[in-house]
Structures are given as C-alpha cells and as structure tokens.
Subunit: 422 residues, 2 copies
C-alpha cells in the first residue's frame, strides 16, 4: 500500500436565503459530513450564504484557501433567485452549453416520472458550464457539476436532500475515493442514558487523559442521553482497528452501568434490535406523546417484525372506550396518574396482542398544568402480561422537549424491563 | 422617529466537532436567524467550525470583518473539548473571574432542579472573562457572555437548544433592539400544494418581474408543497406594511387554486386551525405512517381541541381486530388497497368518536414492494360518517420521504374534504 501523505480537508458551502432567514433547517450538511467522514475526508468548515452573487463568490474564494474538496449545495433551481450555475460558470471561466445527457434526463423525468408537460425554464436546467463534468441527477432535473482547479475539486449539487444524497452515493463519494489517497479513519460510538455529561466526564477522566493523540473522545449529549465517540485516524488500518477496539472495550467497562448499546444507534433503534433478536413484539398506548413513540419505532425499516400497533388515546373518552381505563380512575386519580398508565399498558397488550407494552400520560405544556401536576409531569408504564412497572417523571420547559424526553424515558424503561425479563 | 441609516448584519458561528462530523443537525442556526430577522437584523453568513483553537479564532476574525453582531453557540460545556470560554477570554484580552450570579445559578440548578451533588468542573462553569457582561442561563449551568469591541457585539451561548432559546428570548433580542437602530422588515408567507416550483414560477413570472427592488419573492419547496414568501425592507413601517399587503393580496389571487393557507404555517397547523375554527374533530387510522400523522397533529399546543385519538394498525391482525377490517378484504384486495383504507376510515370514526377520519396504508420501503404494488404505493382515505373519499398515490425513493409525503398528502386531502364539507 502506498503511503498516505496528506490529510484531505473538505469545506461545505450551502446556498440559499431560506437558510439565512431560518425557514429551512440545514440537514444536508450533517449528512454530507457523515458520509465524507466515513471515507476519511475531514470536514473542517461549513458555511451558509444567501442568494447573493458577492457572498457566494467570496465563500468560494475563501473555501479554496482552506480545502481540497469544496461541496456546494443549493441555488440550482429553475427560478430567478437561483444563481449558482451562472456564477460557477463565470468563476471557472466557462461558457454555457446544453448537455445532452442532462437534457435527456430532464425529458425523462417530465415524461415518465412527473407525467406533465415541460416548459422553457425546465429545459434551461440542462445547460451547464463547458468546463465541468456533469453528474447525472436520477431524482430531479438539476444536474450536478464537478469542477477541478489547481488540484482542488469543486462539486455543485441541488439542495433537495434526496437528490443530493443520490448523487453523493452513486457518484461523488466513489469518485473522491478514486481521486485522493485518503487516510484511514474509524469511529466507535456507544450510547448512555441516566448520567449527566459532567458526571460522565469525571468518571472517565483518567481514561480520557491517557488516550494517545491520534484517538479523540467526544461527548454528544441529546435529550437525557449522552453518546460517547472514539475516533482514530492514521495509516495502518489493521493495527489502528485493533487499538481502537481495545480502547473501546475499556471505555465500555467504565460506563457499563449506564450503557444502552455499544453501537452508533439511537435508543429506538437499540430497542428495536433487542426485540428483534429476542423475537418479541411491542405495542403502544400513548396519550401525551400523541403517536410519537410509535412513529420512532416505525421509522426504522423492518420494524414490522417487532412493532404491531398501538392506540393514541389523546382524549379521556378514548382512554375509557378504546383502552378500557376505569371511568372512576380517570375521575379520581386523573388521566395523568400511575393507575391510568398501568391500566393503559395492561389493556393494550391483548388489544394488539404483543409481548410488551409501553403506556404514557402526561402534561406537555404550555397549558394544562396545575399546582399538583405542573407542566412536565409524566407517568410511564412498561411491562408484559405478568408484570407492569410504572414511574413518574418531572420534566420542564417546552412541549417539543417534553415529548422527546417522554419518548426517550419510556423506551429506556422498556429496554431495562426487557433486560430484566430475559 | 429617527432615521435608520444602516443595515445591521449578523453572523452566526457554531462550534463543535459534532457539527462537522455530522452527528448533530444544527437546528439552532435556523431558529436564531428567524428571530433576528423578525427584529430587522439580517443574517448574512453562518459558519460551523470544530473544537479547534485556530479555526474558532479564525472564524471570529473573519466574522468581525463582515458583521456588527456575531452570535456564537457551543463549546461551553464542562468537558475538555469545550474551549470556547478560554478562547474568548484571550481574544478579548480578559482574565477569568468567578461570577457570583453565575455561581449562584449553578448551585441553584444542582440543588433544586437536578437534585444531585455538584463537582469541581461544574463550579468552573461560573468562571467568566472579566471583560464580558454575563447573561443568566435559567435552564442550565453555562452562562452566556456579551462582549463589545470596536462597535461590534459578540455573544456566546451554550449549544443546548432550549438554553440558547431562553437566553435569546429573555435577554439578547431585547438588548439588541435597544442597542441598534434597526430597519423595518416584514414577511408574508403562503403555502401551496399540488403544483411544482417551476410551474408556479412560470405562473407568477409577470408578478415577480414587476416587484420593486425592496420586495423580494422566495420559493421554499418541501415535500410536495411550495411556500411563497414576500419580504419587504425599509424605513416607513406603515406605508411598507400597506404595500406588502397589496402585493400579498395580488399574489394570493394568482395562486388561489393551489393555496393551502395565507400564513406561515405548516400543513398540519393549517388543518388544526381549520378544525378548531369549525369546532370539529379528527381521528387517525395509520398503517404505513406508524403514528406520524397523529404526532404531527399533536405536536401543536392546544391540539386536544380537535384531535381525540387514533389507532396505529401496523400489523394486519390489528387492522382486523381493532379496526374491524374484513379478513376477506385483507386477503383478497390486500392491506394496501382502496377497500382497506375505506374500512379503516369508516371504522375509526365511531371508535374515537370524531367528525372526520384519516386512514393510510402503503409500502414505505425499502422492502415489501412487489411488481403490482411497488415501494411508494399508498392508499389514503379521508371522510366523515356520510362520505369517504379514497385516493392512490405512487411515491418513490426512501422510507423517511415516503412517510413524510404520505402524511402531507393525507392532511391535504382532509383539508380539501373539510372545505367541500363546510
């Protein structure tokens, strides 16, 4: 194997006023960074600029100083505010020509996929600077463009996430791997729940301090959970893999008490995996989360193997009629009570015929709180036909966060229940 | 009123390797940009850098050239990879001192909120450069910091979204409004469905061309819908408001056929608003979306006024047992069929006792497709006790996108049904 001599650094430029005005959350950059990272490219800088000629030009010039690979998304649409293509044409000193492949693709998409007539400005999407290599967009009409200048690669893609992802996967990532000699990079990630970031850091201080300089530890906190990621970078793949595994095993021992899973999975993926491995199923009875737990479980491909269904009992009469919660329980203990979630869990089991059940009821806010049951009060029950366990939580703050925290804690309680049940 | 003479420009710097490695999606920047925009501050540039001293320093120097306001998030945690605070201390030539207010806040949060003992590195969070104004963090232990240098404002905040949002709302936005004379800026947004971006652009070409230079039209496409946003900027609030209203009314007429709502609301918010205004309720019977439609409806505060509940019938036996879909229908027409979704819609109505119902069943992928029913095949039914309407859709691509598109189209069908029913 040839010696790898340089660290390949990438920069990402996202273009569009919608990013600066905050009407769109940029999910593309995170995905691109992840994929680049996997092939050993280090993203050092990310910048978002509006649909303004000078700002885009400026960003290109600056990124060119920093990075060998410059990925650009956005501004390729058919409307007047999309100026990326003429700008790149001028930046690289080309002239606009019709690309036959891109033209055929535009025609194909309109005739076969969208099944509607094409108009002039759609045809213009097949025009590209003659100084680029055209990247086929199988999922849309705007072609991608690959430019090379002074040893640097500039790649322009549409901002539509699935179009960008298709191009990256089908063409750009393999082409970059061919073009550069990339260093070896590897990550190992584990997920913890039930311990704060600072306590965790204190607990593994000696481990962290003793790490060699080419292994980095990162803390990634999110909704009451903390992911720990070890990253190794270097040349000798096999020895590095071995060393990373040793350090990761050590770290796992240190945090065993709080570890949910030793993979880079979210909690709902981890729970799904546990159920699948055991051939067990789960059903949900959700009040305050309004279907969010079922959504998390079913967002994973193949989840029909372990998720059968659930009831969203937002109104009390649905708790009573569909889930058979006692009218007396609802009027005396209330909808947010241990008794109610116990009954919800108990009764969803036969309704959807599963091995396990999750039930939640709480006050998500901003309204609906009282002195006895303030916003953030949540009861969660998990169990099977033999045993139901219930626990009370007191969250705070905003509705969206409370929904997230309720789902997270419910899934974590189920995880612990399954472990103790196996 | 004094004359406003300058356009106030802000830059956002987000700090953290997790942003560059792609393990976290940056939702903070969009929120900050939105809020700044509302008070007339223009975000011109956004940049993400890792936990590296030189990169952060460089970003500060560059943003300083461009912007009067520099907002910085991240890198303030208690762990070793958090270097923002010492860096800012050096950048502004201060020395670290304990801030009594921040210290009291750290103590309060540990004693009252977290109810666990404090450790040394938590106390260190109360140390700040003596050259900044401390911003109280009511929701966490890391204080915010406000620096001024050569007429520019630098504000450092934690990266935890709800902590950042609390500081912005309680302190930073009002303080910026006091500090600068801000221009007047206003937006009007409408939502369309069922027409592509390029057709829309063609349809309103003359309108767009005739807009004065201080009014800007933006196209914001998302999952089969396009939002149109008019932005006006200037000095004279009342005349600008009037002019914006006139242009917006004109635009509304032009796109009336496809307009969902003339506010900056998402489709599920618009549907919720319609139901609330009419005093009607809805229930859901979801197969392929697995609770996502119920989640969208209940993500809005106050949704209990119009959403009562639903069933997630992921497995066929749940469709049969809980939703009483005919066994013969399931075995002959199949789970993804017009007959099945019609029965699901019809039977959920009495179960949750609502005025309207939504039912969906489809193949989200990546597995489960067949030549007759490829991945992306979806049946949607909406209706009330008098009438059920069903429609077939053929989406493509990935699972997450298919779930989104199914939810969007189901909500849009319900919207049209409600309109025709009123």
């Amino acid at each position: 194997m040839e010696k790898v001599t340089e660290k390949i650094v990438a920069g990402i430029i996202t273009i569009g006023d919608e990013l600066l005005i905050g009407q769109v959350v940029d999910t593309n950059s995170a995905w691109m960074a992840q994929e680049l990272n996997k092939i050993g490219v280090w993203v050092q800088h990310r910048v978002a600029v509006g649909d303004a000629w000078a700002d885009i030009w400026d960003a290109l010039q600056q990124e060119e100083q920093r990075s060998q690979i410059i990925l650009i998304t956005g501004g390729l649409g058919p409307t007047a505010d999309d100026i990326t293509k003429p700008l790149l044409n001028e930046y690289f000193g080309g002239k606009m020509v019709v690309d036959e492949g891109a033209l055929a693709n535009v025609r194909h998409i309109f005739e076969r996929v969208l099944q509607r007539p094409m108009i002039e400005r759609n045809l213009a999407q097949a025009e590209v600077p003659d100084v680029c290599t055209v990247i086929l967009n199988k999922r849309g009409t705007a072609p991608g463009m690959w430019f090379e200048k002074d040893g640097r690669i500039f790649i322009s893609m549409p901002g539509v996430p699935h179009e960008m992802k298709g191009m990256m996967t089908d063409y750009i990532l393999p082409a970059l791997q061919e073009h550069f000699k990339l260093p070896f990079i590897a990550h190992r990630t584990l997920l913890t729940a039930g311990i704060g970031e600072s306590f965790l850091a204190e607990h593994i201080k000696a481990f962290e301090t003793a790490l060699p300089p080419y292994i980095k530890l990162a803390y990634l906190p999110n909704y009451g959970m903390v992911r720990l990621r070890l990253t190794i970078r270097g040349e000798e793949q096999s020895s590095l893999n071995k060393e990373l595994q040793q350090q990761f095993d050590h770290l796992k021992q240190l945090v065993a008490e709080w570890m949910v899973i030793d993979e880079d999975l979210s909690l709902h993926e981890a729970v799904g995996k546990m159920l699948k491995q055991r051939g067990r199923t789960v059903g949900t009875a959700e009040s305050c989360t309004g279907g969010y737990i079922a959504h998390l479980l079913t967002s994973i491909a193949g989840s029909s193997a372990y998720f059968k269904g659930g009831v969203v009992s937002y109104a009390n009469e649905v708790k009573q009629n569909l889930l058979q919660v006692d009218a007396a329980t609802l009027s005396e203990a209330g909808a947010v009570s241990e008794e109610t979630v116990r009954q919800m869990a108990q009764h969803i089991l036969p309704l959807v015929d599963t091995d396990y059940a999750i039930a939640v009821s709480g006050i998500m806010g901003p309204d609906g709180g009282s002195p006895e049951k303030p916003v953030g009060t949540v009861w969660i029950a998990v169990g099977n036909r033999q045993k139901i366990e219930a626990q009370k939580f007191s969250f705070r703050f905003d509705r969206q966060r409370n929904i997230e925290l309720t789902a997270t804690n419910a899934l974590n309680l189920l995880r612990k229940f399954i472990l103790s049940d196996s």
